[in-house]
């Protein structure tokens, strides 16, 4: 249960949420999505309570949870098509270019069940770039990634934030994003 939180994030900023396991980082992110009912308190987007128009708030955000939401029996490209396609028409070249940005260019026709955990995470990052939503809510986006993967996440976030987007990420440790763009919020478990 979360208590006593007040936070504000503006365009061009990244909020890094830190805290030990069980401190409530995931709950905070899900509450910010509007998925958890808040007994007290509100989430405002662009000055308006998100509960007034939840669908358009959701259309402005992308949420990545602990595990990448991929179907093991579909190929990488099919997964992207069915996932991003819910919100945005993306063509084959666009999907291919997103995979390239994520460093997994040749994997488009591979079944997801044959991928490693790190590769699945990169697929999720590719989807993130395809959604082109202003608000990113990321729960431990660097899990299963190697050093170049950490670099990739930092790069994507920095690009997104510099272009005017917002990112709120629950992260165990710091990633190399320019310090002037990052603010920290520490949750403590009581």
């Amino acid at each position: 249960m979360l208590r006593g939180l007040a936070l504000e994030v503006s365009a061009g900023q990244m909020l890094q949420v830190v805290g030990k396991n069980g401190a409530g980082k995931t709950s905070l992110l899900r509450a910010l999505c509007g998925m958890l009912y808040l007994e007290e308190g509100r989430v405002l987007w662009d000055g308006r309570d998100v509960r007034a128009d939840l669908p358009s708030f959701h259309a402005s955000l992308t949420y990545l949870g602990h595990e990448p939401p991929l179907k093991a029996d579909l190929t990488v490209d099919e997964n992207l098509r069915y996932w991003v396609g819910l919100r945005r028409r993306v063509t084959l070249p666009q999907r291919a270019s997103a995979l390239e940005t994520a460093g997994i260019a040749g994997l488009a026709e591979r079944l997801v069940r044959t991928l490693s955990a790190g590769q699945k995470r990169r697929v999720a990052l590719a989807a993130l770039t395809l959604f082109a939503a202003p608000l990113w809510l990321l729960d431990e986006p660097t899990t299963h990634l190697d050093a170049s993967g950490h670099q990739l996440v930092a790069q994507l976030i920095e690009q997104h934030v510099r272009a005017g987007g917002l990112a709120i990420a629950a992260l165990h440790h710091d990633i190399p994003v320019s310090a002037q763009l990052v603010r920290r919020l520490e949750l403590s478990a009581t």
Binding site: H58, P69, A163
Partner: protein, 238 residues
């Protein structure tokens, strides 16, 4: 604000609601066909259950014919219930259900698409196999089309009704029995009208009246069940 510009750009490429529902349906169908061997299971269960009745009562077709509608319907009911358990299970576990709820699109439509896919994969094959088992229970040749039509309509209502129970129990472990307990009393009208329609078909009488009542239930389920299922999914995602 340039983030707003990014939003505006993506808004112009937003696919319409029907296309999104079609996408969800296509995804589920494609997924099911990747694991083709699993599609047979509800059908095999259906055939085995219908075979249990002659084995436990009598092999005389003359004595089986009167109870054939009941046997077919009970077997179809149980097979559909077993298959319903998997309607939302996988998606809830790997996070895709959550993404559906967060997509900004109508969750009602998306769940309706999933339920429709479930019916196409389970109900329709059951309806097509039912005549074969019907013949094995003494149903005459002229009733076979009636059997297909009545069971196809009934399984559609069942898939829709069952989607509510499936959505309510999606987070519960070992929920198979609970799902059946919740859905079976609610499914009694479907059973009553459907079995009566099949019975009249077997007797070569007009089965329009019970079929119309069954169709009315289908319409009611079409309008209300996906709404209730969407509410139930949101509750289980909280």
């Amino acid at each position: 604000m340039s983030a707003a510009a990014a939003t505006v750009a993506s808004r112009t490429e937003v696919p319409p609601a029907l296309a999104v529902a079609w996408l969800a349906l296509a995804r589920d169908l494609r997924l099911a066909f990747r694991k083709r061997e699993q599609l047979i299971q509800p059908l095999a269960f259906f055939v085995i259950v219908t075979a249990l009745f002659p084995l436990s009562i009598t092999p005389e077709l003359g004595e089986l014919r009167p109870i054939a509608p009941g046997v077919l319907w009970v077997a179809a009911l149980l097979s559909s219930l077993l298959a319903l358990d998997f309607l939302f299970r996988d998606d809830a576990q790997d996070g895709t259900l959550e993404q559906y709820a967060l997509s900004g699109r109508s969750l009602t439509w998306l769940l309706f698409a999933k339920t429709a896919a479930h019916w196409v994969l389970t109900g329709v094959p059951l309806a097509l196999i039912a005549p074969l088992t019907g013949v094995a229970l003494g149903a005459p040749g002229y009733s076979l089309l009636g059997i297909v039509v009545t069971i196809a309509t009934g399984t559609l209502a069942l898939s829709l009704l069952g989607s509510i129970g499936a959505a309510l129990t999606v987070g519960v472990k070992r929920s198979g029995v609970l799902l059946s307990l919740l859905t079976l009393p609610l499914a009694v009208p479907i059973l009553i009208f459907g079995a009566r329609a099949t019975q009249l078909a077997i007797r070569n009488e007009s089965f329009a009246a019970p079929l119309e009542l069954l169709a009315a239930i289908v319409v009611l389920c079409l309008t209300l069940a996906p709404l209730a299922a969407a509410a139930a999914v949101r509750i289980s995602l909280e």
